[in-house]
Amino acid sequence: MIDFVTDPLGQEFIRRALLEVGLISLASGALGCWVVFYGVSYAAESLSHALFPGLVIAALAGIPILAGGIPGIAIAALAIAMVGRVPGIGRDTAVAVVVTGFFGLGALLALSPDSPPGIQSLLFGDILAPSDADLRIAAILAAGVVLSLVALHWRLLAVAFDRTTAGSLGASPAVADVAVLVLLAGAVLVAAQGLGTLLAVAALVGPAATARVFTHRIGSMMVAASLLGICTGLIGLYLSYYAGVAAGAAIAGCIVAAYLIAIIVSGLGSLRGRIAMPAGATS
């Protein structure tokens, strides 16, 4: 039984994967709470898709994929902002056009016969094989996201609580929106490296949505979301090790399963409360 737990930890690649899972969970879990409250889950999805060509080009050039992801995400954000200004096209349409355009470009590069094998892993991530440089950049980005969230916490809180009066409290809604999107770009980069552009959004939205079910304060929700990310990541890695399934997909599956369990348990709890109450009233 002990061997069952310790065996994978003896493997260097699993220890590195755990480190990667921890970095993703810290950045995505904490920021995910703001993603939920600012209603920017769609933006998270868009950013993670639109940075795909940047990752592919980096992989083809043989540089750390995050070194390609950072300019990739900046160009995508710029493109969305520019297309959004074209008259007659709504913002929603602009985002959709840019995202599918960029994603298609990335797929074109990744799936051409000349591309080295394994580049497709950018779609679903390669959490088992991050390079030293990948881990280092991910650590810097994750630390940046977490420290910014600590510093900006009360201003983000004031804006999310009530946009109309936040300005009178010295918390500008416009600045808060931009801050959340910039931090989102950082967290998406970290998550996309490990989980791929298609699954990254699961780490951002899933643990936060799960934590929301059983926490009542934003601080405890952020801590719970990060811990949930680490736990589901750990279970996903073990599942991948013993069942031989793809690690990124196993982790994303565990995140979704945790959410389903949370809403079922909370649903049963409130049902029991409702059944118990009339019984108590009659006695």
Binding site: V150, W154, A158, F161, S168, G170, R217, I218, M221
Partner: protein
């Protein structure tokens, strides 16, 4: 005017026009709030009450005329506009009042928490400090937001229809809290639909896209002014010489 020379003017507008696009939402507003005064802000929905409050807060620049506010102003919004499912405690909400004094990277400290606790105690909701804001009653939520204004150290409090949705006891106790805060020297502007309340306060500003009247309630609140303010949507109250306003929801 009663001891006008002694009372300190906390806010004054002169020929103010303000709004959001090119067309002003309010025009020709000239009034003032002295320390210790309660000023009723009367007008139909869409008549520009919230616009005036935002101009006093400095969130809207005057298109014409002038706004002068001495010291700090704080707003007490309608709580239906804030997210009631949001995971913050009453203490957290009161604590937001320290943000204007802190640089953007600083978090509220121990002394700030003490100030927020004292403010909650002052408005009588200290026992609910650790409850989720959205779980409080409407009257308690108004008190927490007033506490936030006290933490902001605001001399001028701007209350946007604070009595909306409150039952009679809650409204009465909120009104006595407002009287206490005014007696401490604060100026309080209260948007309301309740004419009987307005008659008890120090002055009345009638607003319907432009200033209809401003002055002491007895001088201002006659049928002609009210008809102009509410564009005819007023009714006689049988058996009294008072009139009521239709858009208001009375309990």
């Amino acid at each position: 005017m009663r001891s006008r020379a002694l009372a300190e003017v906390l806010a004054r507008t002169d020929g103010l026009a303000a709004g959001y696009g090119r067309v002003p939402a309010i025009e020709g507003v000239s009034f003032e709030v002295d320390s210790g005064q309660r000023v009723a802000l009367l007008g139909p929905n869409g008549g520009g009450k919230t616009t005036l409050l935002r101009a006093l807060l400095g969130e809207l620049r005057p298109m014409r005329g002038q706004v002068e506010v001495r010291g700090r102003a704080a707003t007490v919004p309608q709580t239906e506009r804030s997210r009631l499912d949001f995971p913050v405690s009453a203490l957290d909400v009161a604590l937001m009042g320290v943000l204007p004094r802190l640089p953007w990277w600083r978090r509220p400290g121990h002394a700030d928490r003490e100030a927020a606790r004292t403010a909650l105690e002052r408005v009588g909701v200290a026992d609910r400090a650790h409850d989720t804001f959205g779980d409080l009653s409407g009257g308690q939520r108004q008190r927490v937001l007033i506490a936030r204004g006290l933490v902001q150290d605001a001399q001028l409090l701007l209350l946007d229809e604070p009595f909306a949705g409150l039952d009679v006891p809650a409204a009465a106790s909120l009104e006595s809290l407002i009287a206490e805060l005014a007696s401490e020297g604060r100026g309080i502007v209260i948007a309301t639909h309740d004419l009987r309340q307005a008659r008890r306060w120090d002055s009345v500003l009638c607003l319907n896209k432009r200033q209809i009247a401003f002055g002491e309630p007895d001088d201002v609140l006659d049928r002609e002014v009210l008809e102009e303010t509410y564009a005819g949507a007023i009714i006689e109250i049988p058996g009294s010489d008072h009139v009521g306003v239709l858009p208001a929801h009375h309990h």
